[in-house]
């Protein structure tokens, strides 16, 4: 994709891409019962972000683990805490396999989500959850790479964010496998996650 695309074109493009994902879900019987089969899609292969301790992280940093990545912002009242609370339940339901899962929260709001706030936020859910952040450009590039849509919605002197509320799952070799809709239950996610874990 050319870097000369305007933001509007980019957003439109991302919209079409995600529609494509939704359409393919209906027509293709995939490997998974509940999540979208994203196997082999080239999302998230080249991001470089930082954890709250300022260590650089890429997908390769999680080799051997099964990363489940969600994009959001800490001031989100609904989708983000719901997705992270579900991840807590998923990890528990997985039992011993829960230790293989690595839950990663990438902020779409680096202007307000400082490393300290991010770290406290994800660890309030589970001490093993990890937050990642970048500057505005790195955040935009990472979201684009994942096909994650986000935009600021101004409210008076402040703003909220609209954003894609999907959780992306990679296998232990770093290959994208699954996309979980926000509406999937923890039990449904666990079933598909076990399929990924057994194969890797």
């Amino acid at each position: 994709m050319s870097t000369l695309l305007t933001r509007r074109e980019l957003i439109a493009g991302i919209g079409v891409l995600s529609l494509g994902v939704l359409a393919s879900f209906d027509s293709v019987a995939g490997t998974f019962k509940y999540g979208w089969d994203l196997s082999g899609q080239a999302r998230g292969r080249s991001f470089t972000l930082k954890d709250p301790q300022s260590n650089q992280k890429t997908l390769a940093s999680y080799q051997g683990r099964v990363p489940m990545i969600f994009f959001g912002f800490t001031q989100c009242p609904a989708a983000c805490p719901t997705a992270l609370a579900r991840a807590v339940k998923i990890k528990k339901l997985l039992g011993p396999d829960g230790d293989r899962l690595k839950v990663i929260f990438i902020t779409l709001d680096p202007e307000r989500d400082t490393p300290a706030v991010l770290d406290a936020y994800v660890k309030a859910f589970d001490p093993t959850f990890e937050a990642l952040y970048g500057n505005l450009e790195e955040t935009a590039a990472t979201a684009e790479e994942f096909g994650v849509f986000y935009e600021k919605n101004p409210i008076g002197s402040t703003y909220t964010l609209s954003h894609t509320a999907m959780s992306y799952v990679y296998d232990a070799k770093g290959v994208l496998r699954l996309g979980f809709s926000q509406s999937r239950t923890e039990q449904e996610c666990v079933e598909d996650l076990l399929t990924v874990m057994k194969a890797s």
């Binding site: 919209g15 995600s18 529609l19 939704l22 800490t74 001031q75 989100c76 009242p77 609904a78 989708a79 805490p81 719901t82 992270l84 609370a85 579900r86 807590v88 307000r112 400082t114 300290a116 706030v117 406290a120 936020y121 309030a124 859910f125 849509f149 919605n153 409210i155 008076g156 402040t158 909220t160 609209s162 954003h163 894609t164 509320a165 999907m166 809709s181 926000q182 509406s183």
Partner: protein, 162 residues
């Protein structure tokens, strides 16, 4: 927990107590009565500027919720979440319709109250006052103040206590 409405009319304490007791007995017979159940606020971490409040609201007559106020935040708004093509969007709303007898649920999937610019960290167990203004079909307003309890940041939603 039920909080019954109190009209914003200045009444002497004794009379007020009498009215309160008679209201409890009258249940749904009063002309405009609004009940708030399960009001809660999601706790925050230090430095986090906003959070959401959730509740169930039932009005005995057709009316609408026109505002929510709280001393804990600079700005309080009612928002509505919608999910389309896996994108979660939140929009401020001016009012929320309360059809007679129907419980309207404010939960993370639909309406919620946004507490924007909280003055201090909201800790689990804190009592957060919320003052709701409900306007009846006749244009009369009533205000109800409830104490929402702060639940852990990782609470799932208003319907399930974890």
């Amino acid at each position: 927990m039920n909080f019954r409405s109190r009209k914003t009319v200045v009444i002497k304490p004794l009379a007020q107590a009498a009215i309160l007791f008679s209201l409890l007995g009258m249940a749904w017979q009063a002309s405009a009565q609004t009940r708030i159940d399960d009001a809660w606020v999601r706790a925050t971490v230090p430095g986090q500027q906003s959070t959401g409040a959730f509740l169930k609201i039932t009005s005995s007559t057709d009316s609408k919720l026109v505002s929510v106020q709280s001393p804990v935040a600079r700005t309080v708004q009612m928002h509505h979440s919608t999910m389309q093509n896996e994108v979660m969007r939140m929009d401020p709303v001016d009012s929320v319709a309360l059809p007679a007898g129907k419980t309207v649920v404010f939960d993370p999937d639909s309406y919620h109250v946004m507490l924007i610019g909280v003055y201090a960290q909201v800790k689990e167990g804190d009592k957060v006052p919320l003052t709701l203004t409900v306007e009846g079909a006749n244009g009369k307003t009533e205000t109800i103040t409830v104490e929402a309890s702060a639940r852990a940041l990782n609470s799932s939603d208003s319907g399930k206590m974890n």
